[in-house]
């Protein structure tokens, strides 16, 4: 490995806007991009802003765009990058900038609150507990691996290019809704809201979200498409609609 490399890190300006600032720094085997950012912070730019917590890909704090690819900085090893060229590190572009690599992701927390909360069926056993088979929860557990890094939100073109933040909740929150909908104990119905308020129709299944998910959640195939199917069968499938008319 080469002993020194150049990193171009996005620095915001106090008045707005920003530019890349180049740093040359020592690198060694096994380092990840977050280590580099920390080293620069300790030695050259103490006011460089970055979010991180676990340094192990578990908390979803350190999301950024590395050479243009949405990644976790703590899980991107330098050995995966071409260090002969400068490496660019910039914040997620879909969210408003706060400072340097830190963005305002509060929108994600706000829209999540708009999803109807978990509502379990009455307990199965007299001691107030439920019985669930492992195979019936495997799918939900896949969704619950989500570390809320918001990288999927970052790449989704509906948000990134079309800024439909008010009409579309994005792949992360759709996955949250899917986890509740497919929870074996849950009784709430979120399908009408998926169509009416949460804008599931905006997703045109490009699968960009799935590609960047560091938890390898099959967001599109396993969460969004089944939700879309439920919407379709509820609102557009003639047989179901007829049945619903008779029932009501």
């Amino acid at each position: 490995m080469i002993p020194e490399a150049t990193f171009k890190i996005w620095r915001t300006h106090p008045g707005g806007g920003g530019t890349f600032q180049s740093f040359r720094t020592k690198v060694s085997e096994g380092m990840v991009v977050l280590d580099v950012v920390h080293r620069i912070q300790a030695e050259q730019a103490p006011d460089l802003a970055v979010r991180w917590n676990c340094k192990a890909g578990k908390c979803g704090s350190c999301s950024a765009e590395i050479n243009g690819n949405p990644r976790l900085m703590c899980m991107t090893r330098l050995s995966e990058l071409n260090l002969w060229e400068p490496v660019t590190v910039e914040p997620m572009r879909t969210f408003p900038p706060i400072k340097d690599l830190v963005t305002d992701v509060s929108w994600n927390f706000r829209v999540k609150k708009g999803i109807a909360k978990f509502a379990p069926r009455p307990a199965d056993a007299p001691d107030g507990t439920w019985r669930m088979a492992q195979r019936d929860i495997d799918r939900v557990q896949e969704f619950r691996k989500c570390i809320e890094c918001f990288l999927c939100q970052d790449v989704c073109h509906v948000l990134r290019d079309h800024a439909k933040h008010e009409e579309f909740i994005g792949p992360r929150v759709l996955t949250y809704a899917a986890a509740l909908e497919m929870h074996p104990l849950d009784t709430a119905d979120r399908i009408p809201a998926m169509k009416a308020q949460h804008g599931i129709g905006y997703c045109n299944i490009t699968k960009c979200c799935t590609k960047v998910c560091p938890e390898h959640i099959r967001i599109t195939d396993n969460a969004i498409i089944p939700l879309k199917e439920r919407v379709v069968s509820r609102y557009y499938d003639p047989v179901t609609r007829l049945l619903r008319v008779f029932k009501s």
Binding site: V32, D47, G57, I98, K99, G128
Partner: protein, 604 residues
């Protein structure tokens, strides 16, 4: 002048498992609740917990019940625990875990559809409810997703710099927000500290940047007492290579699933040193150990699952004796189970998915094929704010503490899995009693002048600017000192040396500088954290000097044995009126006969 003032019945500092559980209970108790955390919601240290939470539900072995769990916790803690807390914890953990399921948690199942429980060091029966090796994520997300519908106000990325008192009673806190660097005052009738641990006082640690002992230091400065600060848990298995991930945790679940420890000679050294009081419960050969981890109820556990302090010292011993691995650790091998199971690879990936990824991505190593290299890492502090076992209130009226920053339940050594259950058991209690306290007391007054002084002090690094010391360098030196001189193996002369150096760092910390704007300024934040790191480091060193024996997580080379007369006391530190740290020994109240009996009956 603080930018604005928020007023709540109950103010909770910290949004890990303990803080969130407290928030739920306080809100359900009718209190208005404000919750402050240094990071974004859901990112607290709790998210990193892997192995599971201990609760004697007896799903995988119906011989388990609260009595066994209580006895295990006391034995693990070497009997200097707060027995009342150990009792409450053992009795209430099952309900707290079940309740998570009612809030949407999706824990791994047994074949009959109940919550599955796994083996862990020091627990007699399979007791840890879990989700693969990401239990902390499941816990924090469940609590977070439940809390957001309760009307709790969350102040994310705010850091409390000090508590404020009114006539000796908790009245609120002063915090700055990271985004702007502005100060905000919080007024509350009751304050709950749930700030987690102190791992960042050491160089090699599994803790995130948040673990700077803030709650410990805030409480101390407000006049509360800290106990058991000498008891720091060094987890036996942290990554040792590559250097940038040194200290990162390798879950005990690896050993729970059959992982074994070997030295460079290929010897399974844990069989060589089994403490007498654990002999009756430990496997006599590898075959029995394997039967145990695969669920044979007649088998006893392998020595890899002895308590953490013991395993960590055995590893240190092997390394010192020159039988370590190439990067200064020993080998942890789960790949060997291929000999035993046809589908071992799938099994490992399913049971330990994040360990598999962690090694694959960060060390280029496939744990289903090769052994890992591991060594001890600073993981957890048993010591913390001294609280009442039932209510979690400290010596400062209206100030409560729960979770890792509180002390008592663990004694000299915490059993794996007992922290997550501690968070929900005592988080709930803290929330409940803080809400009750708030109902019974009038609103305190915030002393404006005191707030202004605190704000001024916090801004001093900017006045010194570039002339000041680099805070990162002071922090690094402090971490090296604690690692080298107050680590796994301690002696008086080294600790005296550490205290001297800490004095020097204190002087340097008072000269640190920061330049530029206050917005999201990591250097300035590090400068402010130093004060807390220094306080907890001094508390650890002074308490460790005072305890002239070896017990649990605390090992003295100059006093390698346990001493009976120290088995009846806790070491306590408190700030005296002159601002100096005072150390004393306080007697542990005698245990009621009923509990003594439980311990006796479980000794066989």
């Amino acid at each position: 002048m603080p930018h604005d003032t928020y007023t709540y019945d109950v103010l909770i500092i910290g949004a890990g498992g303990a803080g969130l559980r407290a928030a739920i209970e306080a809100a359900n108790g009718g209190a208005s609740v404000g919750l402050i955390c240094k990071s974004l919601l859901g990112k607290a240290h709790t998210v990193m917990a892997e192995g599971g939470m201990a609760a004697a539900m007896g799903h995988n072995d119906d011989r388990d019940n609260w009595r066994v769990h209580f006895a295990d916790t006391m034995r693990g803690g070497q009997y200097v625990n707060n027995w009342r807390m150990a009792e409450i914890h053992a009795k209430e953990a099952p309900d707290r875990v079940r309740e998570l399921e009612a809030w949407g948690a999706v824990l791994d199942r047994t074949t009959d559809g109940r919550i599955n429980q796994r083996n862990f060091g020091g627990h007699r029966y399979p007791r840890l409810a879990h989700v693969g090796d990401r239990t902390g994520l499941e816990l924090i997300r469940t609590l977070q997703d439940h809390t957001i519908y309760l009307g709790v106000t969350v102040h994310m990325e705010h850091t409390v710099v000090d508590l404020v008192l009114d006539d000796g009673r908790a009245a609120g806190a002063l915090a700055y927000d990271r985004e702007r660097g502005r100060f905000h005052a919080f007024a509350a009738k009751a304050v709950i500290l749930a700030t987690g641990g102190i791992g960042r006082a050491y160089k090699i640690t599994s803790n995130s940047w948040e673990g700077t002992g803030d709650g410990h230091a805030l409480a101390y400065r407000a006049g509360a007492e800290l106990i058991d600060m000498e008891f720091v848990q060094f987890h036996p298995t942290g990554m040792v290579w590559p250097p940038s991930v040194q200290g990162l945790l390798v879950t005990e679940g690896v050993r729970g699933e059959g992982g074994i420890l070997k030295n460079s000679e290929g010897r399974r050294f844990m069989f060589d040193d089994i403490p007498d009081n654990y002999k009756p419960q430990t496997a006599s050969d590898p075959e029995e150990g394997w039967r145990y981890v695969t669920g044979d109820k007649s088998a006893r556990r392998p020595p890899e699952l002895l308590t953490r302090d013991h395993v960590a010292r055995c590893i240190t011993h092997e390394v010192k004796a020159g039988r370590g691995s190439p990067h200064g650790g020993v080998f942890l091998d789960i790949a060997w189970i291929r000999e035993k199971m046809p589908n071992a690879e799938e099994h490992i990936k399913r049971k330990l998915p994040s360990m598999y990824h962690q090694f694959k991505q960060l060390a280029d190593l496939d744990i289903t094929r090769e052994p890992m290299e591991i060594g001890p890492t600073t993981h957890y502090i048993m010591g913390g704010v001294r609280v009442d076992g039932d209510t979690q209130m400290s010596a400062v009226p209206g100030l409560f503490a729960a979770g890792e920053c509180a002390s008592g339940i663990n004694g000299a050594n915490r059993l794996g899995g007992n922290s997550l259950s501690d968070l929900i058991v005592f988080g709930k209690r803290a929330g409940e009693f803080a809400a009750a306290w708030a109902r019974e007391h009038a609103a305190p007054r915030l002393n404006q002048a005191a707030l202004d002084r605190l704000e001024q002090a916090a801004l001093e690094p900017f006045e010194r600017g570039a002339e000041g010391e680099n805070p990162y360098m002071v922090q690094q030196d402090l971490q090296e000192t604690m690692q080298a001189l107050v680590g796994i193996v301690r002696t008086e002369s080294e600790m005296r040396e550490a205290l001297e150096r800490l004095d020097g760092y204190k002087a340097r910390a008072s000269r640190v500088g920061a330049t530029g704007h206050r917005e999201y300024h990591a250097g300035w934040h590090t400068a402010l954290d130093l004060r807390n790191l220094l306080t907890v480091s001094e508390a650890i060193a002074r308490s460790a000097l005072e305890r002239q024996e070896s017990r649990g997580g605390h090992f003295r080379e100059d006093f390698p044995e346990k001493r009976a007369e120290l088995g009846t006391v806790n070491v306590m530190v408190k700030q005296d009126t002159g601002g100096a740290m005072q150390v004393s020994r306080i007697p542990i109240p005698p245990m009621p006969d009923g509990l003594k009996q439980v311990i006796e009956e479980q000794k066989s």
